[in-house]
Structure formats: structure tokens, C-alpha cells
């Protein structure tokens, strides 16, 4: 297959993706190095997290990403309707993520846990909530793309917008792949 010099979608979104990855990267490193000074504390409170919820959420994001891949393939075959449907399915999985994460937060807050409880929760809440906001932003982008796809705004020849939204959504997925083991599993 012919190799392209540029990644799929608008180059500007890729610059944005790199900036976002930098933000998350700094958060991850800060978490890891702070943990090194408070190993006991981090291990203790990490044990209170709900790993089953995290599993569901990880699977939801991967599935969602896969659906977006199918949506891009559909529009490349000039099938706007299929593209729209795959995007809808992806959005549904995004909703599942928000719901499960929301229940987790609900549980923490009902126990009176906040950013000031301890350093572990400060990181856990900050990082996951920052990611949570990215899921919302990604969904807003996907909704915009889906609506345009339904209106027939994309075609096999012109579908930059779909690829742009898809790239951003994969980034949200990518970040969670590291966030999940780092915060929920590694100790």
C-alpha cells in the first residue's frame, strides 16, 4: 500500500493530539514519581478502586474506537448511512464509559472523598476527570461528524472530517490504555 507523508485527517488535529498527549504524559510521570515517595499510601488507596468498572470502561473505549474505524472504512466505500450508524454505535459506547465512570465517582463522593483527601485521590480524581472531559469533548466532535455524515456531507473522495474526528477519538482511547494499568493495576 502507498505510504502517505501525513497522518489521516487534518494535520491541525494531530498537532492538537500531540499537545494533549504531552499534557497526559506530564500527568502520568508526575503520578509515577510522586508515588515513588508514597508507595504505601498509593498501594493502600489504589486497592479501594473498582477494577471491574475499569475493565468495562476499557473494553467500552476499545470497542468504541473499533466502531470508529468501521465508520471511516464505510465512508471510504461511499456509504454515508453505514458511516453514520457506526458512529452512533461508537457514541453509545462512549456513553457507557461516561455512565460507568459516573457511578464510580458517585461512589467516591458518597464516601466524602475529594481532591484534598490525600495525594493518591488527588491524582486519581484529577487524571480520570481530565480524561472524562476528553471523552465528552471527543463525543461532541463525533456527534458533529455523525450529523454531517447523515446529511451526506462526506463522500469516498472527501472525508477529511471523519478521519479528523476519528483520530481524536483514538487518542482518547490511547491515553486510557496507559491510564488504566497505571492507576488501577500497577503496584
Amino acid at each position: 500500500m502507498e505510504k502517505s507523508k501525513w497522518p489521516p485527517g487534518d494535520l491541525v488535529i494531530w498537532i492538537f493530539i500531540m499537545a494533549e498527549l504531552l499534557v497526559f504524559g506530564i500527568f502520568f510521570a508526575a503520578y509515577a514519581f510522586t508515588r515513588a515517595n508514597h508507595v504505601e499510601l498509593f498501594n493502600t488507596y489504589q486497592a479501594t478502586l473498582d477494577r471491574n468498572a475499569a475493565l468495562i470502561n476499557t473494553l467500552a473505549l476499545i470497542t468504541s474506537s473499533y466502531f470508529v474505524v468501521r465508520a471511516v472504512a464505510a465512508i471510504k466505500m461511499d456509504d454515508s448511512r453505514k458511516c453514520f450508524q457506526w458512529l452512533l454505535a461508537a457514541l453509545f459506547m462512549g456513553l457507557v464509559f461516561l455512565l460507568v465512570k459516573g457511578i464510580e465517582y458517585q461512589h467516591h463522593f458518597s464516601q466524602g472523598i475529594s481532591l484534598s483527601t490525600n495525594t493518591f485521590y488527588m491524582f486519581y480524581l484529577s487524571m480520570t476527570f481530565f480524561h472524562f472531559l476528553h471523552v465528552i469533548l471527543g463525543m461532541v466532535i463525533l456527534i458533529a461528524v455523525a450529523l454531517k455524515a447523515r446529511a451526506g456531507g462526506y463522500s469516498a473522495r472527501q472525508h477529511d472530517g471523519v478521519e479528523t474526528g476519528a483520530s481524536y477519538w483514538h487518542m482518547v482511547d490511547l491515553v486510557w490504555m496507559v491510564l488504566f494499568p497505571l492507576v488501577y493495576v500497577m503496584n
Binding site: 487534518d10 491541525v12 488535529i13 498537532i15 492538537f16 499537545a19 504531552l22 499534557v23 506530564i26 500527568f27 508526575a30 481532591l115 484534598s116 488527588m122 491524582f123 484529577s126
Partner: protein, 464 residues
């Protein structure tokens, strides 16, 4: 200039430049007081000079933003201004209120001014940058609301471009955050907490949207690059600005008694605040390189590129220097802050206003595209004089700051504040001399509006 009503911007720009001169004069007075403590005492005490210096800066930048908006919005919306008479009226209200307030600072003791303006009815005075009497603050709210209404209605009835919408977003944020000037909780932590929302959420948040949209307008006009390309950049720049700027503002919360997590949030997010500024630099140079035409107004292009670079250096790099909590623990409130403040305000906001003036003023004064080659060359001289002296002011203040941090807070035998001030006096002298060069640059700038006006417009070779 396509619409008659754009011309109202001229008034605003003239006032802005006038107040700019005042700001620099008081800066020089204050700079002198750093080294000759009783200079002009008791007529102009240091605290009054400082108040006038900072207040004039903010007020003239507001005049500049308003002028820029009145020029830019009708052209983008492709319609006349909604109510030109309102823009005229508000200009005189704002100017009169501003002048009266500055005169009152100079003529009446501050406490007497508070009493005179019945501050105790709704106490808002006495906080840094927000020293204005309550009645002036109410006046500012009225002027800004009338301005927003005028601009908003113009956008509503005309073409809705990304540039206009981003600008409107920035201006609305400006108005909303100013309202916190009226909120004075008695709890000192809360009081400080919301104080940062006024000027600092401006400069680290919504003003960057204003900067971005004005810069986009100048680039669209002078480079002929497709609007779509420039708009895309504008989108990610404002997204990055809002993500990093609003939370990054937490770097002011380290030591005021706010919860500890702000040390993390503030450090991480504010460390990334240079990113949108860096993107702006890359994009400005990219657009100029990809230009479809050579615009004869070289001075305006120079200001546009200059603001992109200097904003990144002043706001981005110099901000980063002391933004991490462990560093800020030592540098908080030293001359490092002053160094950053000077270059950031000049690079991001002074230069963009001057750039907009540079682009639009010749057109409002009846030129087709630009000033004569002679005026432009003078203007470019003033660009370099002011910009280079600002770089040196920043470097001298940074050197003073590093020494101050070391002698006063870091060394094994820390010294008193005033003893340290004496020891770093050399840098204050150097700063004052550079300040005089800045003033000369400003005089050259003003001269460029008069010299070479009777000569024909500059021309350029068309792009091959």
C-alpha cells in the same frame, strides 16, 4: 476600509496611544523612585505612580481592544456597525471617566478619594489593579456592556465568521470576569482567590482569544491565505488556551491558603500555557511564508510576527521560568514576576494593539493600502527600539530578580528586603536607562503618524 462606521476605531486608537504615553512616563518616574527613593516626593508617591502605571496600561489596552473590535467586526460581518453613535458616546464616557480617575489618583489622597466616592456603600477599592473608585467601576461596566451590545448586534445582523465569534467570546469573558471586581469576601483567602479572576483570567484566558482573533484578522488581510486554514489554527489555539489557561491560573493559588491540590494543578497546567503561544508563533510565520500576496504594509506584518514571537517569549518562556510550585516558592513576588509581567504585556497585548493600529490607521486616514515608505520605515524603527529595549528591561529585571531571590531568600545568611534592594540597584539603573530608550521608541512611533504623510504610498513587487 469597507464600511463608514469602522472609522470610529480611530478615536479609540488615538486615545489608546495618548494613554500609552502616560503609562510610560509614570513607568519612568517609578523606575527612578526605585533608585532615588524620594524622587518627586511628596507630589507623586511610589504607590500612586505604580497605580497610575498599571491602571493606564489596562485602560489603554481596553481602548485598543475596543478600537480593534469596532474596526474588525463590521468588516468581518460585512455590515455597518449596529450603532455608531453609541460607540462615539461611550468613547467620551470612558475617556472622561478614565481621565477623572487618574487625576483623582494624582490630586487627592487615596483614602480621601475613597471617602469622596462613598466607597463604604459598596467597598471595592484598595486591591491591586482594581484601585478605581466604585463609581468608576460601575462606569466601566456600563461602557463595556454598551460596547458588547453594539458589537454583538453587529455580528448578529451580519456574516458570522470564526474570527468574529472568537473575538466576541473573548470580549464576553472580559466583561464577565470584570464583575468579580465587585466581589469582596471578608475571608482574606476567598478575597485573594477571586481577585485573581479579574486581571489574571483575562491575560491567561480570554484576552488570548482576543489576541488570537485580531492576529488572525491581520494575517488574513495581509497574507491572502485561505480563511479556512487560519480558522483551523485559531480553533486549536483557543482550545489549548482554555485548557491550559483556566486551570493553569491555579499557579496563583500556591501560597494564599487554597487547597494543596492547586500546587499540582497549577504547576502542571500552567507549565503547558506556553503551548498555545508557541502554536501562535509557528502559525504566524507559516501563514506569512505561505502568503498569496506581498502586502505593501510591511510594518503591520512586522508587528504581527513580532507579537507572535514576543508573546511566546514573554508570556510563555518567562512565565514558565517561575510557574512550577517548587520554583515559585522562592521567586513569588520578586523582580522575576516584574520581568515576566513587562515582557508578557508588551509582547502579547501591546504589540497586537499596535499591530492592529498599524494595519487599520492608514486606511482610516484615507490611504488605499498603507503608509508611505518613509512613515513605515520610521514605524519599523520604533518597533525595533521598543522591542529591543523591552527585551533588555526584561533581562535586567530578571538579573535583579535572580540576585534578589538568592540574597533575600536562598543564601545561608538571608538579608533584609531593603538591604537587598540597595545591592541590586545597578540593575535598576540599567532598567531605567533602557526605559528611556523605550520612550524614544514611542516618540518615533508617534512621529511616524506625521512624517511622510504627504508622500505617496509604498509599493511592493507582486509575488512571483
Amino acid at each position: 476600509m469597507k464600511y463608514q462606521s469602522q472609522k470610529v476605531a480611530k478615536l479609540y486608537f488615538i486615545a489608546a496611544i495618548g494613554l500609552f504615553v502616560g503609562q510610560i512616563l509614570f513607568g519612568l518616574i517609578m523606575g527612578m523612585q526605585y533608585v532615588v527613593g524620594d524622587f518627586l516626593f511628596p507630589e507623586i508617591p511610589f504607590n500612586v505612580a505604580r497605580m497610575v502605571h498599571t491602571n493606564l496600561l489596562i485602560v489603554w489596552l481596553l481602548f485598543g481592544f475596543m478600537g480593534a473590535s469596532y474596526y474588525l467586526v463590521p468588516e468581518e460581518a460585512e455590515t455597518e456597525l449596529f450603532a455608531p453613535w453609541l460607540a462615539h458616546l461611550m468613547f467620551w464616557v470612558f475617556l472622561a471617566a478614565g481621565a477623572a480617575t487618574i487625576l483623582a489618583y494624582l490630586l487627592v489622597p487615596y483614602a480621601a478619594l475613597a471617602e469622596l466616592t462613598m466607597n463604604d456603600l459598596l467597598p471595592t477599592m484598595g486591591r491591586e489593579f482594581l484601585e478605581q473608585p466604585t463609581i468608576t467601576k460601575i462606569g466601566i461596566v456600563i461602557v463595556v456592556l454598551a460596547f458588547l451590545f453594539n458589537i454583538g448586534m453587529t455580528i448578529l445582523k451580519g456574516r458570522k465568521t470564526v474570527v468574529n465569534l472568537v473575538l466576541l467570546m473573548g470580549l464576553t469573558g472580559l466583561a464577565v470576569f470584570f464583575l468579580f471586581a465587585f466581589y469582596n469576601p471578608t475571608n482574606l483567602v476567598m478575597d485573594k482567590y477571586y481577585w485573581w479572576w479579574v486581571v489574571h483570567l483575562w491575560v491567561e484566558g480570554v484576552w488570548e482569544l482576543i489576541l488570537g482573533s485580531i492576529l488572525a484578522f491581520i494575517l488574513i488581510k495581509t497574507t491572502g491565505v485561505d480563511r479556512e486554514v487560519i480558522e483551523k489554527w485559531l480553533y486549536i489555539i483557543i482550545a489549548m488556551t482554555l485548557i491550559t489557561g483556566i486551570v493553569g491560573m491555579g499557579h496563583h493559588y500556591y501560597w494564599i491558603g487554597a487547597p494543596e491540590f492547586w500546587q499540582w494543578w497549577g504547576s502542571i497546567f500552567s507549565a503547558l500555557e506556553p503551548i498555545p503561544f508557541f502554536m501562535m508563533t509557528v502559525y504566524a510565520f507559516n501563514m506569512v511564508n505561505k502568503r498569496r500576496r506581498n502586502h505593501p504594509n510591511k510594518a503591520a506584518v512586522l508587528w504581527a510576527l513580532g507579537t507572535a514571537v514576543m508573546a511566546f517569549l514573554g508570556a510563555g518562556v518567562w512565565g514558565f521560568l517561575h510557574t512550577l510550585a517548587p520554583v515559585n516558592y522562592y521567586t513569588h513576588g520578586t523582580q522575576i514576576t516584574a520581568a515576566h509581567g513587562h515582557m508578557a504585556f508588551y509582547g502579547a497585548y501591546v504589540m497586537i494593539v499596535l499591530g492592529m493600529i498599524s494595519y487599520s490607521m492608514p486606511l482610516m486616514r484615507g490611504r488605499e493600502l498603507c503608509n508611505s515608505a518613509r512613515s513605515q520605515s520610521l514605524e519599523m524603527w520604533s518597533f525595533w527600539l521598543m522591542t529591543i529595549s523591552m527585551v533588555f528591561i526584561t533581562l535586567f529585571l530578571t538579573a535583579a530578580g535572580i540576585l534578589q531571590v538568592y540574597l533575600q531568600r536562598f543564601s545561608d545568611n538571608p538579608m533584609d528586603f531593603m538591604v537587598v534592594q540597595d545591592k541590586i540597584a545597578l540593575f535598576y539603573w540599567l532598567r531605567e536607562i533602557t526605559g528611556v530608550i523605550f520612550l524614544i521608541g514611542l516618540i518615533v512611533y508617534i512621529a511616524s503618524f506625521f512624517i511622510g504623510q504627504d508622500e505617496p504610498e509604498a509599493t511592493v513587487e507582486p509575488l512571483k
